[in-house]
């Protein structure tokens, strides 16, 4: 690559950028997912009984709220080429922390804050093993998945704490007055904007992409790779703990096994939203569309009396198709570029 650039500094042209901006924005994977989301929504509203009612939106958003929140930092983590499998266990740990502290007499505000700090600490533990010790994130977070869940279940056993102040549990379930939209979406929108700005409009965010494309190259370009990853894992733990506090208040029940298996739903939605599991590619709007798409399909199929096994098969197949399509399209793209520029260098893989 470097050699080519030295030899042909002038004639080098990027076919990917040969199209006008609007085409490049419109015909992307994220745009395809958003289009799919709209189509599925319209089709479901027209064909599935009771789907068009406004209450669907309330239930749907309440259903996916936890996944939406956790998906934000997870997007950044996966773009760097890492993964955080411990998020659902952090939800459980924060839920139990909130529950036990509240039971011990702490007000919910204080107990919730401690729970979020515990999440940040859990993220820092992940970050320490990954960036300082240098272990792969897959191995580390599989370990902490079991560790944090074990702590959570160990702290509360098989009991549950349920006596939360009604003000907070009501708030967690409330809707924005006059709309069918749950209030928690305000928190989500604020966080989504923050993460989108962080990822798309700051040097830190460019560093995240650079790490995902090539950790070595990023390091040589001055990106502080370890520091960036560490911050991302702390963010992931913190947001997961926040989601855990919300989850606990919404269901009014702090249990060690809360949100078991949620990490897979989050990662599935992030990948469906166009983030590459190999890192370096994806964006926040796509991920939000991915989460909503899985939510809408589940909601519509449940209303159509499709059993949960079949719903799992359909969402699973959709996920596999979306991941496979990326690789196939990348291959097709390389073929086309190869045919266009006979003697040119191999184009960088876009997808």
């Amino acid at each position: 690559m470097t050699a080519d650039i030295q030899h042909a500094p002038v004639t080098r042209s990027y076919r990917d950028y040969a199209h006008p901006l609007w085409r490049r924005l419109l015909f992307t994977r994220e745009a395809a997912i958003i289009a799919l989301l709209v189509i599925v929504y319209v089709v479901a509203a027209l064909t599935v009984r009771n789907f068009a009612a406004p209450i669907t939106i309330t239930y749907l958003l309440l259903d996916v709220a936890t996944i939406l929140l956790i998906a934000l930092p997870m997007t950044l983590v996966i773009i760097t080429g890492e993964i955080d499998l411990s998020v659902a266990s952090v939800v459980g740990l924060s839920s139990v922390t909130l529950g036990t502290l509240h039971q011990a007499g702490l007000p919910i505000e204080a107990a919730g804050l401690v729970a979020i700090l515990v999440g940040a600490l859990a993220g820092a533990i992940n970050g320490f093993f990954i960036t300082v010790v240098g272990l792969p994130s897959l191995a580390v977070t599989i370990g902490t998945l079991a560790l944090f869940r074990g702590l959570a279940v160990g702290l509360l056993g098989t009991t549950a704490v349920t006596d939360f102040t009604e003000f907070w549990t009501d708030l967690a379930k409330s809707k924005i007055p006059g709309t069918p939209i749950p209030s928690v979406m305000i928190v989500f929108v604020v966080l989504a904007i923050a993460f989108a700005v962080l990822l798309h409009f700051t040097p830190f965010g460019r560093g995240v992409y650079a790490i995902g494309l090539s950790s070595e190259a990023a390091r040589f370009s001055g990106v502080r790779v370890e520091r960036t990853k560490f911050i991302l894992f702390v963010l992931s733990g913190t947001v997961a703990a926040l989601a855990g506090v919300y989850y606990t208040l919404r269901f009014g029940s702090a249990r060690g096994d809360n949100a078991t298996g949620l990490e897979l739903s989050v990662i599935a939605a992030v990948l469906l939203g166009g983030v590459s599991i190999f890192g370096g590619r994806g964006n926040i709007p796509g991920v939000i569309a991915g989460v909503l798409l899985i939510g809408i399909i589940g909601s519509a199929l449940r209303l159509a009396n499709v059993t949960s096994d079949v719903i799992n098969i359909i969402t699973g197949a959709l996920l596999v198709a979306s991941v496979v399509s990326t690789s196939v399209l990348a291959w097709v793209h390389r073929k086309r570029i190869g045919a266009g520029i006979k003697k040119g260098p191999p184009a960088p893989a876009q997808d």
Partner: protein, 344 residues
Amino acid sequence: MTFSTKRAGSLAAIAVAVALVATGCAASDGGDGGSGGGDGGNLAITFLPKNLGNPYFDTSSKGGKAAVDEFGGTFAEVGPTEAAPDAQVSFINTLTQQGVGGIVVSANDPEAICDALNEARDTGIKVVTFDSDTNADCRDLFINQATAEGIAKVQVDTIAEQIGGAGEIAILSATANATNQNAWIELMKEYLASDYPDIQLVDVVYGDDDDQTSFDKTAALLQTHPNLKGIISPTTVGIAAAARYLSTSEFKGKVALTGLGTPNQMRDFVEDGTVTAFALWNPEDLGYLAAFAAKALIEGEITGEEGDTFEAGKLGSYTVGEGGAVLLGDPYVFDADNIGDFDF
């Protein structure tokens, strides 16, 4: 990438849309057929077990379906694939939107599904819990499978019959602080003292609901008490481990064993003669009764108040007890004659 991505994207969109239309139409034609009709109320009753693919709940849903078919309602079963605390919420919400007549649910968490159930009840849906209750203010009725007294009595009666009403017995329990088991053991002691003075309870040991520990404790029990004539194990883990030990030991057929077990766990030991009879409730009857309770609520025959009475088909007449609970009846005794009828 642009053109091919677009084409693939729209292909995928069309494929999903087509699939959705196909399943949506097919399912709503079949599933919602009966929900609108009926003059005495909306007899669309949906069972929501803790999770699907669980033989115990397959059996209870079978009973529920038989009942719903009997009174001409529409039966459906939905549920999560895993018994997570919050997993039932989205299904309850869906049923609320569909406007079913009644939900019959076994709660994964007494608190987590409360709000969803109350929202359903606000729209006029009747909620019956069975097997595992929610908080009492989130449902109309709870169908209780058995009382502590009934569970204690059936086990003592069974062992007494098998050992001829006299001799030494021991209990193999779960953990030393297991609330249910300890309550049952206390009641068993009282019942033994009052009705079977010739039976001595010589020991209570704890297998911690762990297969290997229970196995070892059984062996130790038989060594320590050579005159032991019978063992009661009021836990499904304990009884299976004890049966496994007895079936391969010299005590097989000499020391009686009973307790609480499931037919699938105990089938081999009943067939090879290690165990004559053991007890549990009948989940099929439980589902059957729950469906009839839902019907009685939907048709306004009862409101769930204490003292209300309703008919439950072949099971006869039931009265609502304290706290909106309906008791299924005495525990069910499984033996070589009837174990073949059950698969859970």
